[in-house]
């Protein structure tokens, strides 16, 4: 870079030598440079100003052109679509295993108001209240005459209501088309389906969003427009579900229980054919969720079969027996000391009745001896018991595909001591959901493989890892059969279906520790037909109470078992199982008593 000196020394020095004043030279030089800079700046600015003018001209022309395009385009009814987001309102149907509709969409309208366009807000409010008695006229008038420019009045209205609103004739009352979710079967399978509500709402459409059950679990699948014509097929069977809900409801009323749950599961595929929790609700009109302070498990929305965890009592005994046999510690005829009470530290384990000093393992299960099972658990030890129960899936939430299932985290003792192992062997100290229990019984029923309970229709058997040997499973099935044929579950006998199962009557824990002595959870976990079991059925009644033969009875044998038997009687033919009626004259020899 060539620097121009600030002072032209070449001229100043000679001037100085001549005795002239160099200031004039300096000023002249400065002036010259100033003019040079000015001239340069002016030339540059000239071109840039030209660029600027042209850009302004272009910008104005663009605006004018755009104005012209808009002005000459036809005024069309503008599409309501704020911010360019597309609200997908399609939602795939849900069908049962036979393709019958469980959930579908239905076209309806929402009602909204634009008060600035209203002609007569007072008359409109009055008319609306006549059509919809639940609306508050004062509030409507306030909204219509206030500053609001837009408000929703009703999310869904029927065609008749729509016509009636039309007849009011106010231009400020407008309708938006809606797709609503419809559950044509009402309360059937309510807990599995869950329900859907509106998410993002626009004038012309609203998003349908699953809020519970499979609707929430498979929300992504159901909303995917690509799946619009591919319904979600569940493992449920509508007919059997209906039969189950009817029988269970009757049983619950008969046994004066405050709640009930039942699960019917395919032992090989893990498919849940029917599952019910009572009290129920209508997914078309979901009740409110429980407010803080209320016990959520008393809300009809609460799914007792999948979501609730309970101490399921003696139904667990078969797992201890099966494990002892699987480990080779015992066989069905091993004699076990059942002298009571069993003292362990400061705790005493007692039986419901005194069953004598010694029983075989089979009899321990058949009579449901807590002491006998506890002794079996002592022999197994907490470590091995833990591994076995974990393999049965008793320590994790079930993989059942509804959103509520993850809440069913089994409750375990903090310290898994030998005492815990003993109480857990007869189903106290561990709280699981009935769904866990059904999955555990499926292992015994299918010959020793774990199957994950699922709500989706499966193509074939879905056998998981082996948990016990087929021999153990067969021996356990025989024990379960004997519980029904000669033990605590004798009311569970259904001619021709060789029901096997285990009762469980667990005292309900008090909220502040300890147990009630007059409130039980009565459970009957069963498999049928027990010579070649296809299905697992678990029935649980919450606080049943029945007055029979001169006393108030709460145990499962008197409550849950008869309900389960009635259920099997009703659904087994629907499932396509033929009763195996023994030929007359064979004199007490049945196919299943060997």
């Amino acid at each position: 870079m060539i620097r121009t000196p600030l002072r032209p020394l070449a001229r100043i020095l000679p001037a100085r030598a001549k005795g002239e004043n160099p200031d004039a030279i300096e000023r002249e030089n400065l002036n010259r440079r100033h003019e040079e800079i000015e001239a340069k700046a002016r030339v540059r600015a000239e071109s840039r100003l030209l660029v600027l003018s042209v850009s302004f001209l272009c910008a104005f022309v663009v605006i004018g052109g755009r104005m012209m395009m808009m002005a000459t385009s036809e005024p069309s009814e503008p599409l309501a679509n704020a911010q360019g987001t597309v609200i997908a309102n399609q939602r795939a149907d849900i069908v049962d295993r036979q393709g019958r509709i469980l959930a579908t969409n239905f076209e309806t309208h929402s009602l909204y108001a634009q008060p600035p366009q209203m002609v007569d807000p007072l008359a409109a409010a009055k008319g609306l209240v006549q059509i919809f008695p639940d609306l508050d006229e004062k509030k409507l008038i306030k909204n219509f005459t206030g500053k609001k420019k837009f408000l929703w009045i009703k999310k869904k209205i029927s065609p008749e209501q729509k016509q009636a609103v039309h007849d009011i004739g106010d231009p400020g009352l407008l309708f938006g088309p809606r797709e609503m979710r419809l559950y044509p079967n009402g309360k059937l399978a309510a807990h599995v389906l869950g329900g859907a509500s509106f998410g993002k709402e626009g004038v012309n459409s609203a998003e349908l969003k699953g809020v519970a059950g499979v609707e929430a679990q498979f929300d992504g699948y159901l909303r995917d427009p690509a799946n619009g014509d591919r319904p979600l097929q569940l493992s449920l069977d509508l007919t059997i579900q209906a039969a189950m809900e009817r029988v269970l409801f009757g049983g619950m009323r008969l046994m004066s229980a405050k709640g009930a749950a039942a699960i019917l599961m395919d032992a090989y595929t893990g498919e849940v054919i029917a599952v019910s929790s009572l009290p129920s609700f209508d997914p078309n009109d979901r009740p409110r969720v429980s407010i803080p302070g209320e016990d959520p498990s008393e809300n009809p929305l609460f799914n007792r079969a999948v979501q609730g965890v309970y101490e399921l009592g003696s139904t667990f005994k078969i797992f201890a027996a099966a494990q002892a046999m699987d480990l080779g510690l015992m066989n069905p005829e091993t004699i076990i000391n059942t002298r009571g009470p069993l003292q362990w530290g400061k705790f005493k384990i007692r039986d419901f009745h005194n069953y004598g000093n010694a029983l075989t393992l089979t009899k321990v299960i058949v009579k449901s001896s807590n002491i006998g099972t506890a002794r079996v658990a002592q022999m197994i030890g907490p470590l091995r018991q833990k591994q076995f129960l974990a393999a049965l899936g008793m320590f994790d939430p079930t993989p059942f595909e509804i959103v509520e299932a993850v809440n069913a985290q089994p409750l375990l003792p903090k310290q898994y001591s030998e005492l815990s192992a003993m109480t857990i062997s007869y189903g106290h100290g561990i709280s699981t959901s009935p769904m866990h229990l059904a999955a555990g019984y499926a292992v015994i029923a299918n010959g020793g493989h774990y199957v994950s309970p699922t709500v989706l229709k499966q193509a074939g058997p879905q056998l998981g890892p082996r948990v016990m040997s087929p021999v153990t499973a067969a021996a356990s099935r025989q024990m379960l059969r004997k519980v029904v044929s000669e033990g605590t579950a004798s009311f569970g006998e259904v001619p021709g279906y060789a029901v096997g199962g285990k009762t469980g009557s667990a005292d309900k824990p008090k909220p502040r520790g300890g147990y009630y002595n007059d409130k039980v959870i009565a459970t009957f976990a069963s498999i049928f037909p027990s010579n070649d079991p296809k299905y697992v059925l678990v029935v649980t009644l919450d606080e049943p109470e029945v007055f029979t033969l001169g006393e108030t009875r709460r145990t499962a044998g008197w409550t849950a078992v008869p309900v389960a038997a009635e259920l099997i009687r009703r659904v087994a033919p629907l499932l396509g199982l033929r009763p195996q009626v023994e030929p007359a004259g064979f004199g007490g020899v049945t196919l299943t008593s060997n």
Binding site: R33, L52, V61, R66, M67, S73, P75, P78, Q83, G84
Partner: protein, 388 residues
Amino acid sequence: MTEMVYGAVPFGDGEPILPKWWRTIDKWSMSCVMILFVIGLLLGLAASPPLAARNGFEPFHYVQRQAVFGGAALVAMIITSLMSPTLVRRLAVMGFLAAFVGLALLPFFGTDFGKGAVRWYSLGFASLQPSEFLKPGFVVVAAWLLAAGQEINGPPGRLWSFVLTVVIAAMLVIQPDFGQACLVLFGWGVMYFVAGAPMVLLVGIAGFVVLAGVLAYSSSEHFARRIDGFLSAEVDPTTQLGYASNAIREGGLFGVGVGEGQVKWSLPDAHTDFIIAVAAEEYGLILVIIIISLYCSIVVRSLLRLMRERDSFIRLAGTGLAAMFGVQAMINMGVAVRLLPAKGMTLPFVSYGGSSLIAGGIALGMLLAFTRTRPQGEISDFLRGVGR
């Protein structure tokens, strides 16, 4: 100095003020401004009765006020345009200081009229918006600084003016008034551009803006949705924008007829931010094109006249004023035709608003004063042989 002028007869250039003004003023631009003002009154007749009805005044209350303020604005414009550039600069710098103090004191004494932004002083009969008066003053001060920065041994004017711009923009953002802040930044940018911003810097800034936009679009879903929503052809009919586009469509070429428009009843800002929509609906495309060409000719004519200007202060100040005026009009109309995202900005000289009108009058007066024909030293150039 004193002895040089002592006893000298005061000497003028011998030409009376008004004839000189008439000879040198940009008569075309001035006529355009007058026409714009008349159009503003005409549109006020159409757009403001609904507002008057809402606020319980007689139908043409706002038109009368507009006429009064507009008259004052025209007088201010003519008086300002009579001044010499030096006088304009002196007064503008003082005005700028006053407006700056006013802006700084807004958080303490200002009022927001329930609109959420503290921008006004309430004077009882009218309200005063200091930022409107600040803008022309700011342009003059910044141009002065930039021009001084170009002189040999001058102050670092570019840096000072930049700091001043950022401070003012920050104060406007605090109100918050992003539109005016952008306008101030833009005005300074244009002046800096004309004052000789290095090409590398300009290209760099342009590249950075594009890059930042692309990055923001690809990384932020929210931003992307905003842009998509703005770009999409459809618009929610219940928004102001929706009403405005619909009004323009309804208007067509010749409009639905005087007083027949509907949009003014649904748009709360029909008399200010969306007055162009009212114009388009009632008078059609014709009037809109006229309005656009009026703005365009004021801006482009002024810029072309400034090309001949030799004084760099006058050139810069004129450029800043013309650019701000033009951009404000462009943003207002660009929003209505959905070329730009929604931003509240008045249409200068047409929209209703006292402060905006009078400040606009002063600003245009300054612009007219700066674009007056002046001897530009062509003869001396010619004599020295340096001219073209």
